[in-house]
């Protein structure tokens, strides 16, 4: 079981490394979206500090959605996905592996980048660290829920816009707790409740989402 999981993760990471541009583009998108906000609202540091958590989190949601297109589409196009389905290995396991790889390529680097962006938005040390912690705990949930949308819209025309429409409303709790953690931290309170809720959401999604994704993939591959 673990070997299947690791094999899928290894394969997806290897594929991503062979096309580094795709991974880099998502991260570049994340940074550029965040950069647009100070240009839009002005360089006033107080304002920036106020909007930083929301801006970084919304950018993280959008980057996650943008990168979802790659999650199953390539494997669907060349038939690998069908092979995985027919392989006799539990589909949920393969799905979990693919999502882990997806998170390692988007969620993890975004978490690291957020430390830099926190500095650009003049966040103090504590809120900045909270921002990174909230992203670390919350981005797995983004990958997991997003994968449901990606599986449902597999092979549909206009799937990219559609997946945004389906997934963003489901991201609301993650956004609220993620940005909320940073805000409470900036207000001098402990962000622990928010972070625990985020972790809880990720764990619950980790337990439930693979089944929904598996069902969605079976529907899409019929």
């Amino acid at each position: 079981m673990i070997r299947t999981l690791l094999a899928v993760i290894h394969r997806d990471l290897l594929l991503a490394m062979r096309q580094r541009g795709d991974v880099a583009n998502v991260l570049l998108f994340f940074v550029i979206v965040v950069t647009m906000f100070p240009l839009g609202v002005g360089p006033d540091k107080d304002t920036l500090r106020l909007i930083a958590p929301g801006v970084v989190w919304v950018a993280a949601l959008l980057s996650a959605i943008l990168s979802l297109g790659r999650l199953f589409a390539l494997d669907y196009a060349d038939g690998t996905l069908e092979q995985i389905l027919l392989s006799g290995q539990p589909l949920t396991l393969a799905v979990l592996g693919k999502i882990s790889a997806h998170w390692l390529m988007t969620g993890a680097p975004i978490t690291v980048l957020s430390l830099l962006l926190g500095e650009m938005f003049d966040l103090a040390a504590a809120p900045s660290a909270t921002l990174a912690a909230s992203l670390l705990l919350g981005t797995p949930c983004l990958s997991l829920i997003g994968a449901i949308g990606a599986a449902l819209t597999l092979g549909l025309r206009g799937g990219g816009v559609l997946v945004t429409l389906l997934v963003l409303p489901l991201y609301v709790p993650i956004l609220i707790f993620g940005a909320g953690a940073v805000e409470t931290s900036a207000g001098g309170l402990s962000p622990q409740p928010h972070l625990m809720l985020l972790g809880g959401l990720s764990l619950a999604a980790g337990a439930l989402a693979p089944w929904a994704i598996g069902a969605a993939l079976r529907v899409s591959l019929e």
Binding site: L156, L165, L168, P169, L170, I176, F177, V219, E222
Partner: protein, 252 residues
Amino acid sequence: MQTETVRPSSFGFHRFAAPPEFYRLAGRLIPWFASLAAVLAAVGLYLGFFVAPTDFQQGEAYRIIFIHVPAAWMAMFIYAVMAFWAGLGIAFNTRMSSIWACALAPTGALMAFLALWTGALWGRPAWGTYWAWDARMTSTLILLFLYIGFMALHGAIDDSRRADRAAGVLALVGVVNLPIIYFSVQWWNSLHQGASISLTRAPTMAATMLQAMLVMMLALWMYSIAASLMRARAILLERERRSGWAQAEARG
């Protein structure tokens, strides 16, 4: 094509799961539900607009509550019903269940929209603003987005079987998420709490107000049933367009 021949059960109720039977029964029931909806709405609006006392704080403006609250209830309730039928459709692969889910979605979206729209119109005189990021308003807006997502996904897939099942998975994911969204939004609002707006007004409600509201609630129930039966009939006829009975029905 599993439901063409249905074994008679002890209740004889399952036979309405067969498309032609359902189609005919629905056709006979729609006028009843529609006229009940009209009568109840007339009574409810009369009670609400003429009989119920004027609110001492909000004056006449509060009367929009008689549409607003039942619509908000229906919006939430229909989503649960829709998810139930969608789940049934996935679990047992029954065509009528999925058609029901599909037929309920636009009515649910309409109710969510009505609740938001009347809420905005009510908010203007009551709070001085059309829109406040109140927890209930925000979660109703997200509910509307979920309805739209369901319909958009269904509409994007040409094969009706795949569309039913994909949209069904989405409805189930949504119904699991809905309470989480609701509570997170509520908490978010209590954290931000800019303007001091309280929705918990009118601690005691006059009996006539409650009666009017319940009658309007029933009216919207009847309307929703009539509307989704009509939509289910249309969907059924479209999907069964190659079968003999559907062509006979379409010819009239």
